[in-house]
Each structure stands twice: as C-alpha cells, then as structure tokens.
Symmetry: C2
C-alpha cells in the first residue's frame, strides 16, 4: 500500500535507522537483544509488581512541528514516566512505536535519539523494543513504559478518604503558560516554554510517597480535571483553596497572581506534577519525603464526603470555572 519512500540520500532505510539510532538505546537491556528479535524478554524481579502505562504524543496536538526533536522525544518518554512516578514505580524500560512522515531527515532523527539517550541516563531505563512505521499523517510517538513497585505497593487513585489532606508537587500552570507563549501570547519566558516542552517526572517523590499517600495521580489534563478523576475514583469530594495553588514566579510575571490567573493555571494541561492525598497526621512525613526527593510539595486542600472538586476563594465560597481542563474530543 502507500509505501512512503524517503530519499535514500536524505535518510537511511528503516532497518539501518533502527540499527544505527535505536539499537544503541537498548544495549543496557539484555532482554532487548539489541532490537534484533521480534520481542523483548523481561525476567520478573522477586517481590516486585510490574507497572504498565502507555501514552502517545502527536504532532499538532502534544507538540509543535518545529519543537526541538530531542524535546519531542523526551516529552514522549516523560509523559509516561510521570504516570509511573505518580504510582510510586521505578522505571525499568519502554517500548516505542514511531510513526514517521516523510519530512524528518537524518539530523532530526539523530537529535530525537539523542534526547531519548539523555533521558535514559537521567531516569535509569532502556529502550526494550520498538516499531518504526511510515505514516501519511502527523508524526506520532507512542511509548509504553514499564516500571516496578514492591508487591502491592502501587499508589492507586482510589484511596482518598474524608479527612485526608490534598497536596500537589512543584508549581501549576507553567506548561500552560509556555504553550500560551508559543501560541503568540505576550510575555516570553523561556522557563515556561521549557516546562511545556520538557515535563519533569517526579519519580523520586512518587517513590518516597509509597505507603504514605492514600491516593495519587499525575496532573496532565489540568489540576482540577485530574483531581476530579481522583475524587470520582475514590468516591470523595475535594475542596481546594485557590490561594494555596502554587504558581511559579515565572508564571506570575506573565499571568499575575489574581484569582483569574490561578483559575487559568488550574485548568491548564501538561503540568506533569503529582497530586496526592494523605492523612493529616502524616503531614510531616510528606514534607520529609518532599525534602528527601528535592521536589517541593504544597498542601492545597482537603478531602470531604461527597463528590466532585470545588475551588474555594478566601471566604470559602466556590469559584465557578468555565472548563475543567483539556479533553481530546
């Protein structure tokens, strides 16, 4: 069928590409056989469960055509690692399906692979298998990440109980601010653009929260939207104090810090922070986990009986939100 042939001078063939650029990413995973077999093999680790996650990023949806290829690669990997982080898992490996239109040339692909290599070194995991296919459409990277947790210790979304405190890591809205800058909004802040292009999976924090957080998830659709998922799955209501939602100095410099800015940040996507709950008696342990992992954590609200998420102003009155976060359709 449509067999998009690239100019051989511009880009090596499929199998050469795999051998030159991707096989080197698999060498620390003996069960990947340097990508020369049909599948990878992974021996179990005694006493450990596997944690499995798949997430795809698509040109024109999750990244821009002109984004640096290394950042596209890292975002594709990190959105998956962020989920492993929220579950308390330690990354082990990943599988990658790469859907390639005609346009990426060899330099682009080398930079893409270099981005993966840098993240593999930073986060301690290896490519275990892949598939490279031509596509008549948008470039897409679909990654499945594999991690380990001690048996039974994965932190679930369901587990928040009335009376728990609600926490969030890092700062909220930075990636949304970066996206706005890329879309032409005034107030260029390279720090915000970097947060949009290169999420920071909070792996050490997530691992430190095992046995401590009663529920946890990663914030990708927007803080309020994701807390709504947690509320629904746990069968509880979450009350969030707007004034406690942590905004970075870089974001405040662009959006300000009034209620409108806070609301906008709370419904922006792509934060890739961890939102979690814990019994208030463990607050000190949460702060110790934060210090140990080097990731700031802010208490932003509480769990009550009921359902849904409400954002409250300084008088405890509900703030109406026009939308809760990003949805694909």
């Amino acid at each position: 069928m449509a067999n998009a042939k690239a100019d051989a001078a511009r880009r090596p063939g499929e199998f050469e590409l795999i051998a030159q650029l991707f096989a080197p990413l698999s060498l620390k995973a003996p069960g990947a056989f340097a990508l020369t077999d049909d599948a990878a093999v992974l021996a179990p680790r005694p006493g450990q469960d596997l944690v499995l996650k798949t997430d795809a990023v698509v040109e024109g949806v999750h990244f821009f055509h002109d984004d640096p290829p290394g950042d596209i690669a890292r975002k594709a990997l990190r959105v998956n690692l962020s989920d492993l982080a929220a579950k308390g898992a330690v990354p082990a490996g990943y599988l990658m399906a790469l859907l390639l239109p005609d346009w990426p040339d060899l330099d682009w692909l080398k930079a893409f692979a270099a981005g993966l290599a840098a993240d593999q070194a930073e986060f301690g995991l290896s490519l275990m298998g892949g598939d490279t296919s031509s596509t008549p459409g948008a470039l897409a990277v679909s990654i499945s990440a594999i991690g380990f947790v001690p048996h039974g210790a994965m932190i679930r979304r369901a587990g928040a109980r009335s009376g728990d405190a609600v926490f969030v890591s890092g700062t909220i809205g930075d990636a949304g601010g970066g996206l706005a800058v890329l879309q032409g909004e005034a107030g260029a802040q390279s720090e915000l653009v970097a947060r949009y292009r290169r999420p920071r999976p909070r792996l050490l924090l997530g691992q430190a929260l095992r046995g401590l957080a009663s529920a946890s998830l990663d914030v990708s659709d927007g803080l309020i939207a994701d807390l709504a998922h947690l509320a629904r799955t746990s069968g509880v209501r979450l009350e969030i104090d707007a004034s406690r939602i942590p905004l970075s100095a870089a974001l405040r410099a662009v959006w300000g810090s009034d209620t409108a800015a806070i609301c906008r940040a709370a419904v922006s996507g792509d934060d890739y922070e961890i939102a979690f709950t814990a019994v208030p008696e463990r607050r000190d342990a949460v702060l110790a986990a934060s210090a140990r992992s080097g990731v700031a954590v802010t208490e932003i609200g509480r769990v009550t009986a009921g359902e849904g998420v409400v954002l409250l102003d300084g008088d405890g009155k509900e703030i109406a939100l026009p939308r809760k976060g990003f949805v694909h359709f």
Copy 2:
C-alpha cells in the same frame, strides 16, 4: 493546541468513550482497575518471563480507510500476537494507544471495540491500559502486547545452526494476494482479502515449538525478508526451495503456481505465519506439534554455513528476486 472537538451528538467525549467502550474490555484484568487509574499493575507469575512487543498499524499503510473497523482492531492486535506466537509466549494483556481523527463516529468505534472483544475472547487476553488522543492525521492504533513464557524458554531469532531444517507455518502470499485484490487486481477471492485484513496469529503452534525450534520469527515483511533477518541474527545462510513454499488454492487460482507466482508470494508482506528452524532429527516432533496445534507446517529448506537467504529452483540454481519484501522507507 489543536483540540479537535467532535460533534457531541455524533460521538461521546473522550472519557465517556473510554468508560463505555474500552473499560469493559479490561474487566478480566484486575490490575487494569477498569481503566480508572494512571497505570496498570501486573503481578509476576512464578517461573515465568515476560515477553513484550509493540507494533502500530496506520491508516493508508497497514489498512484501508474503508476496512471494517472490527478488522482494523483485530489486525492491530493480531500483528502483535503473531510476534508473541513466534516467541512461544502465552498472551496475557495489552496496552493500546488510539490516535483518532475526527471522522470515526460512535458506530465505527463500537464496531472497533467489538473486534477487540472478539479477539480477547478468542486469544485469552485483556486490555490493561490505554490512551486515546486526537490526531490531525491518519488513524493509528499502537498496541503493546504482554505475554508469558517459562523462564528462559522464549524462542529467539538467534539459534539456527548449520544443518537445521527450515519450516514455515500455513501458506505464504495470501495476504499479498488479498491486498492486490483490494488494489484492483482481477480475481476477487474473499478468502485472500480476509487473510490480509485478519491475520491468524499461530499461538498454539508457537507454544508447541518451545524447546523444539532452534530459532523462530513471525513473517510480516515477507518470507524472504524475514528469513534474511533470521539468517543475519543467527549468523547462518538459509537455502529455500522455491517449489516447497506453500501456496493456498485460493492464491494459486489468482496468481497461478509458477516460479513468478512463488517469488511474488515470497516477497509479499502481512503473512503473519511463523518461520522457524529445527534440527532434522526433531522433524517428527515438529510435525506432531503441527498436528497438536492444528496448524500446517511445511519444510522449505535448510540452514548452511554462510550468510543471507537464497531461493533455489528445481535444479538448485538461485532465483534472482527483484526485492525481498516490504520496507517502510
């Protein structure tokens, strides 16, 4: 960014879609939490290794826009199961990233999910996690399949030794014949089209070949191209007797059975059969495995010292091939 909103009357939103159509596919996998968590958890099975594979199918490359949606789903799953089959693995679960343009309506999506449900029942596995994203481009389905094999028993590509016999399951070229029919070539044979749209992963045969096959891989790029992979990885040469390559009656009715037809079949893609090697002394055991699994197996050649794959005519002379199989670019 580009947030393709579908007409709400035409298709439910992202989260409703997951809850209505995809969550039911996960209910037999307790670690999938009905797709309400960030990730799935999978407990190891004592004495078993995991086998991991990812493969994507793309509209306009691996299937046609107008193919039945249930067949698109099944092909996406089966191309992965075929790799598990060739490795001797028993499927356990899969992750799916679905990249959706605007056009699939609710009926299309229901039929797609029904195709997955039918295959889950047939092959004994469950959806364990997924990601649904909008795309401005072609519809694509990226699946990562997870299977189990007894520790150390995965059948590798590297393992063929000089003196081994070469075998292939089923018949070769049927899917290529089906593709030709769909592209307008005369000689409509619905059986061939079915083979193109709906591969048959040879799971029982692959499992029966554990400890018996010295090397194995699935035939997806074309028999000769895939045997070349096996030859390279094993560091051997494969001699294939053209006249022994099994062609179905349906294919012979369209292409005939002369050398040209055999060559065309041997470089057609999408067979999803298993090609494997075994010491000739185990020939009876191979035939018994074939009988036990209900999948025909044909001996088509031998392993010698050297490199590459040659196709030989009745006089033992090499037949020149214009190309070896399908490559993506």
